[in-house]
Symmetry: C2
Subunit: 221 residues, 2 copies
């Protein structure tokens, strides 16, 4: 290899290295814009109309307990008991409004308590998930599937997605500081006009990373 060719290669590598350094500097500057608020989802139940009719009586109107981070969604005053093969868990809140399909979201810890090993799923994807029973004040339903562990995910608007430079369904990582520091991987981006910027994790993730729900966590692509 002649000297000219060598020098061209060295220059190309140098430029690549310099670009990488520059990109990292930009990343530091953008740090304040790369953080996401986080909410902790306790175990809860979404009901479809037919099941709400059985558990609470026909055309029952659910009472708002408190708003949750996504517009129009709220936790209800009404609670049910969820029943697995090993044991049951009482006082599990309904989240309204009603949905197309009943879905019970628990943590892996809850799964061990109930005697279930629910799969980690996006909300709404209950096909082949764990069987579970639900007992309400007016009746009981036995589901062949419907119990899942919700995946780690971040709701955001299209404008947020542009700011973060991410796309719907993209997987990102989230960095956590503190005494139980670490990185949460396999975090799914969910983009919709209806969404407010918020990360949702279950109580296992919250407790493992000592997250209280007041943090702004750093998104890593």
């Amino acid at each position: 290899m002649n000297e000219e060719r060598k020098s061209a290669i060295y220059l190309a590598i140098t430029q690549a290295v310099m670009e990488e350094i520059k990109a990292n500097q930009i990343e530091v500057v953008n740090d304040r814009n790369s953080r996401v608020p986080v909410s902790i989802s306790a175990r809860h139940v979404h009901l479809e109309k037919a099941h709400a009719d059985i558990l609470f009586g026909k055309d029952y109107t659910f009472q708002k307990y408190r708003d949750i981070s996504q517009p129009g969604q709220y936790a209800c005053e009404e609670q049910v008991t969820i029943v697995g093969p090993k044991s049951e868990i009482e006082r599990v809140r309904i989240v309204a409004p009603l949905r197309k399909q009943t879905q019970v979201e628990v943590s892996r810890t809850d799964g061990f308590t109930l005697g279930l090993k629910p799969p980690v799923r996006h909300s709404g994807d209950v096909s082949g998930s764990s069987p579970i029973s639900i007992i309400g004040p007016k009746g009981r339903i036995d589901l062949e599937e419907g119990c899942i562990i919700a995946d780690r995910h971040i709701h955001m608007s299209p404008m947020d997605a542009q700011t973060f430079g991410v796309e719907n369904h993209q997987k990102v990582q989230i960095q956590v500081d503190g005494e139980k520091a670490g990185i949460m991987g396999n975090v799914t981006i969910r983009v919709s006009e209806r969404y407010a910027l918020d990360m949702h994790i279950d109580t296992d993730d919250a407790n493992a990373f000592a997250i209280t729900g007041k943090e702004y966590l750093r998104l890593i692509k």
Copy 2:
């Protein structure tokens, strides 16, 4: 800057980059040697002699239920109830042999159940930790301190420490793959001739990262 000087700089940078690439390749080769087995510690109680006398009767002999990963340590047949301000948890195993100071190790999830916010501590460091009561078949003790969340830690022999290139008390990170992938930070290295290579995590970390206890996890310095 003349051409010769430029070329020298490019060469220096190129060599640095090549060394980095080479180091990374060595890292890949060493991957099989950089993994650590992991055990999940369920909530448990270590007792001092005076407290064992109160809870189980004077000079009681504890029965081995099963060996745990550290030589000479074993989970016992005997169980107690631990009591916090909010509620109690039954069937918590004693881990023998007896220690200098009674210590109750729980997860953060257990803490919420009990109504406690125990600090994350090294085993043995119970000063100023959460108050807790313990009920045994023969009596009850009320501790002003003693309830902790054990920190993430890795037991290893001096030879293991040499292999991994780490020191006693060093903090490392542990990488987890799979659908609940991520990195556990603030993992403390504990070196002793008495120790067998094993990482210890609590049930919150296990459930957040979907760890079953059969994995070999990658240590990152």
